[in-house]
Amino acid sequence: MNVRPGTIVRIAVLVLATVVLQLAVVTQMTVLDSDADLFPLVTLSVGLLAGPIPGATCGFLLGLVADMSLLQTLGVTSLLLIAVGYLAGRYRELRDASHKLVPVIGALIATLAYATAFSLVQFLLGVESPVSPLVIREILVGVLMNGLIAMPVYAGVRRLLRADLIDDLRPRRRRPGTTRRGPLTGAPLTSSAVTITGPARPRRN
């Protein structure tokens, strides 16, 4: 990721807009007493698009602003979102993150892990009331809702940060008429076709 003054402004806008949207709008759109959670989704998207350091930093800032505006215990949300952003970024570095389903599956895993870890931290900090088993249902419904909105959120984050990304993970397409074609068959020449120079493997019938 290229860090320029514009990048910092864009990240700040992303963090602020996410917190305002989540607290003022998304939390009030409930299905089965649960709602979607944009925090792990946005952090995951930044991690997948920009790498571990921007992912972790975005997670930290998002958690900090969320805890500040909710008057919650500072540091809890940040700590968990750092992990989400960092691990998403590491996945991008170590595996192929360009598959279309990566944001959706990542959202399901990240939200489940985030919600579970958040619950564990709350237990560690002390819960003074009995806990209903419906908490599990609420977490699972939230995970499913996050899975449903993962693609648009990912696309929105990519659109916002596209100018700063070194290599965009979106599959690239050539403009019509600029595709190089083979001299014999007229089939398009892909980069892999050009680089493979060894003898062709025998076909199996």
Partner: protein, 295 residues
């Protein structure tokens, strides 16, 4: 080159984690009037207009999603409500008789006050501008604050019953801790049985509250109303005035080994769908300054 980038990555991660833990430790260690709490209140004040704008602008979208969800529930609600109407009609007749008797008794002892609203309080209507996204912090943010007379620990209610209490105040915004928050506790009474207890939350289930510490063996009828007990002695005073409806009894758990029985109740206020609430303010000093206020 590669090693340097790995070192840098690890250093940034360690720095962020260290900062988070430092914040967590410092926040836990300081009092409610500490520096970090002050920064939070300032931040909330700055963010409140943005949240209010977003909340108002996107209300049609929220309502649309709410309508879809409501349509699924409407059928079962209709049957339940018809049954409730029949029950309530019978209770209304009984209540009108009781009310007439009570008015006569009040006139006899010269006790003249409205039973519909706690005396000495004036309501401040507020709009809900934000809601906590996690089940572990059941709280909302409203668009009224200390400039409008809202103070910490003041009771908050909706049209149907008690909602919670003010837990933090900025100039133009305040945080309301709902009845369903794990830290919440309200001294309450079952009417007409008279059993007293403490209403607590059941984390994760907003339609179930727990009336704890009810004396064992005390009869508690299903469907009975639970109200704030609002007691007062020479030095101590409840935060909540007497008579605010909280919910109706759904069932009672009785364990032979337990000292007290636990009564489950369904809150009257729909705590997941609050748009407008009322803060019961009263003049005089900030109630948070009084040391001996008890839930």
């Amino acid at each position: 080159m590669y090693k340097r980038s790995v070192r840098r990555r690890r250093a940034v991660l360690a720095l962020l984690v260290g900062l988070s833990i430092a914040l967590l430790t410092a926040y836990f260690g300081e009092s409610a009037s500490g520096g970090l709490h002050g920064i939070q209140r300032g931040f909330l004040e700055a963010l409140a207009p943005l949240q209010e704008g977003a909340s108002r602008a996107l209300k049609p979208g929220r309502d649309l999603v709410g309508w879809v969800g409501d349509a699924f529930d409407a059928k079962s609600d209709n049957k339940k409500l018809r049954r409730q109407v029949r029950e309530l009609q019978a209770r209304l007749a009984q209540s009108e008789t009781d009310s007439r008797d009570a008015n006569e008794l009040r006139a006899l002892v010269g006790f003249n006050r409205s039973s519909s609203f706690p005396t000495g309080y004036s309501p401040v209507s507020a709009r809900v501008i934000a809601r906590s996204p996690t089940v572990w912090y059941s709280a909302i943010t409203i668009d009224k604050g200390s400039d409008q007379g809202v103070r910490v620990n003041q009771p908050v209610m909706s049209g149907s019953g008690l909602v919670g209490k003010i837990s933090d105040v900025a100039a133009d915004a305040a945080r309301v801790t709902l009845l369903t928050d794990s830290t919440s506790g309200v001294s309450a009474q079952v009417v007409p049985d008279g059993a007293n207890g403490l209403v607590k939350a059941t984390v994760g289930n907003p339609s179930d509250l727990l009336l704890d510490f009810v004396q064992k063996g005390r009869p508690v009828a299903k469907g009975a109303t639970v109200i704030t007990s609002g007691w007062k002695s020479s030095h101590l005073e409840s935060l909540f005035p007497r008579g605010i409806p909280i919910g109706s009894v759904t069932r009672s758990d009785s364990n032979e080994r337990a000292l007290y029985q636990r009564v489950h109740l369904h809150p009257y206020a729909d705590l997941r769908n609050l748009d407008v609430v009322e803060v019961l303010t009263r003049g005089g000093p900030d109630p948070s300054q009084k040391a001996q206020l008890i839930p």
